[in-house]
């Protein structure tokens, strides 16, 4: 499989972010939550009163921004991957079920899909989280719930197309159970487009989690996320621009890399 340069760049960026997240589990330059008001709002290296011990500067409470960015990678990646897993499992299952059995369950599920697709995802997520409260788990569940419909639609279409193919009919004739047919015969044939949708979904969900945390309805403030950092950074950005710039840059790099990778996989 020959990858273009842009796809390789995407893969490299994603690898860097993943590596940073993994590294943060073992080591960061400073403890990410260590407050020292003497170090409040130090500028990044290159400016006059910079302290080389804090290369990217510090926030209002004197916490090292580089360490917090590293730790923030964990939350973004976790939410991105887990929510896609949740949405994917629900969506693929319902899509398979819907396409394979047809009938009134199919109509019902597709009607639900249409209804949910009419509502903008961000709004739905905000509304649900406003009610459910702030936690990492809630964000994962809500984002998964918002995104299951894309998988369901895709999988249902493919299942409908595959349902009457010969290999399915012969498997049926041989006595294979419905579940076995769906899992072992139909599903493997649709992994291509499914992977593309999943990759796009990962980047969308990372952006969504950042937005939700920025708005204050996502992950609780005690957990370090890039969106939360942006929220805090916005409050001081007129005197300390670096607080607002680094977290957004981190999000940009991660999502850009994922999109490049997804684009490249799509082109294969």
């Amino acid at each position: 499989m020959r990858w273009s340069r842009r796809t390789l760049l995407g893969a490299a960026l994603v690898a860097i972010v993943v590596a940073t997240a993994l590294l943060s589990l073992m080591w960061t330059p400073h403890p990410p939550n260590q407050q020292d008001l003497n170090n409040s709002l130090l500028p990044p290296v290159g400016a006059l009163d910079a302290n080389p011990a804090f290369p990217l500067g510090t926030d209002l409470n004197g916490r090292d921004l580089l360490s917090r960015i590293m730790v923030g990678a964990r939350a973004s990646l976790l939410v991105g991957l887990l929510s896609v897993l949740v949405g994917g499992v629900i969506g693929v299952s319902l899509g398979l079920f819907s396409g394979y059995f047809g009938g009134w369950p199919d109509s019902l599920i597709m009607r639900l899909v249409d209804i949910q697709l009419s509502l903008p995802g961000v709004l739905l997520a905000i509304a649900l989280l406003a009610g459910l409260g702030k936690s990492l788990l809630n964000v994962v569940l809500v984002l998964g719930f918002v995104s299951w419909v894309q998988y369901a639609r895709l999988v249902r279409g493919s299942t409908l197309a595959s349902r009457d193919r010969e290999y399915v009919l012969s498997a049926h004739a041989l006595g294979a159970s419905n579940v076995r047919i769906m899992a072992k015969h139909i599903l493997p044939n649709i992994t291509g487009p499914l992977l593309v949708v999943a990759t796009i979904n990962i980047s969308t969900n990372i952006l969504a989690e950042a937005a939700l945390s920025y708005l204050g309805v996502g992950v609780p403030l005690s957990t370090v996320t890039w969106g939360g950092m942006l929220n805090e950074g916005k409050q001081v950005f007129d005197v300390a621009w670096w607080n607002a710039v680094w977290p957004g840059l981190a999000i940009l790099v991660t999502v850009f890399g994922t999109n490049l990778l997804g684009d490249g996989l799509n082109a294969e």
Binding site: S118, L119, I126, A127, F256, N259
Partner: protein, 325 residues
């Protein structure tokens, strides 16, 4: 549903495929609006007993019961929902805890500001993405095309609220040519509009480029070239008209998404729209206003999508004659 002489008439009057589609589409919108009302109704129950949010911490059980009765919370859920619907139909969505004023008029008063942002962003998006997309498609593999591809990918990878902050830093902070927040003059409109449009422009440029690119490969284009038509004429007069349909469809759907996206951007610029009100109300746990805002925003988006869908139906003759699916 073709009009054959022996076809069973499911409607009392002869219906064309078009009105059949319209009716189904309307019916679907009604269902969605019901779902939206259910969502906003259910909101306050998601985090446990809503009475707890309505009374002070040291309330006595008798007080809680009084509040419970006053808000009809002692009734079965289905009855509560029906009461909620009935009150909503009369425009009564409760009073804001913060402002002690009716919630619905409060939210509706902020709607024009949100709509203004959405419309301006829509116009800007259309004006920018179509020319760029067409140019990139007609000059494929050129420098502009490469820049466009990367640029548009960057645009859809950027968190909108971050872009907003950067724009404020540059234009309001360093250059001091535009205001940082609030509303009042047309200059206040520029940065928020740019911020909201960025994502949509990125998305649409990619779509336009791909759509025009595919159309350019069609046989009729070769014919046009054979006739001696210049490239720009081909691109604008022939190709665009044929690739317009998917573009218009996505643009129409984007209008609803732009309203949703403005929720975040409004908070960055302190723009007095429904989105910012909703976020403030979430922070203040002002449940009636949260509920009203969700209802109004979601309903508005549903209605826009319906209008776009119906317009699209009228524009595309294929839908009209294809019949029910």
């Amino acid at each position: 549903m073709h009009l054959l002489p022996h076809a069973p008439a499911r409607l009392p009057y002869a219906a064309s495929a078009l009105s059949g589609y319209i009716i189904r589409r309307l019916w679907q919108s009604v269902l969605v609006l019901l779902a939206v009302s259910l969502l906003s109704f259910v909101l306050i129950f998601l985090s446990g007993d809503p009475v707890a949010a309505l009374v002070p911490l040291n309330a006595r059980p008798e007080d809680m019961d009084t509040v419970r009765r006053a808000y009809n919370l002692d009734q079965p859920i289905a009855v509560q929902y029906l009461l909620f619907l009935e009150q909503a139909a009369h425009g009564d969505l409760g009073d804001s805890f913060r402002y002690h004023a009716p919630a619905l008029p409060l939210v509706l008063g902020r709607l024009p500001a949100t709509v203004l942002l959405a419309v301006c962003s829509f116009v800007l998006t259309a004006l920018v993405s179509i020319p760029i997309g067409v140019f990139a498609a007609t000059h494929e593999s050129g420098a502009v095309d490469a820049m466009t591809t990367t640029g548009s990918l960057l645009a859809i990878s950027m968190p909108s609220f971050w872009l907003g902050v950067i724009l404020i830093l540059v234009f309001a902070g360093t250059l001091r040519v535009l205001p940082a927040s609030g509303t009042g003059t047309w200059q206040h409109l520029i940065l928020p509009t740019l911020t909201i449009s960025a994502f949509a422009i990125g998305l649409l440029v990619r779509l336009v480029r791909r759509s025009v690119s595919e159309t350019l490969r069609q046989p009729f284009v070769t014919t046009a070239r054979g006739k001696g038509l210049a490239e720009p004429t081909i691109a604008w007069r022939h190709v665009l008209r044929n690739s317009a349909i998917p573009i218009v469809t996505v643009m129409g759907l984007q209008l609803g998404a732009l309203v949703g996206g403005s929720v975040v951007v409004e908070t960055v610029f302190a723009w007095p729209g429904v989105g910012w009100l909703m976020i403030q109300s979430i922070e203040a746990r002002d449940l009636p206003v949260i509920r009203a805002a969700v209802l109004v925003l979601a309903s508005f988006i549903v209605l826009i999508n319906l209008a776009v869908d119906l317009t699209y139906t009228l524009l595309d003759p294929r839908i009209r004659f294809e019949g029910s699916r």
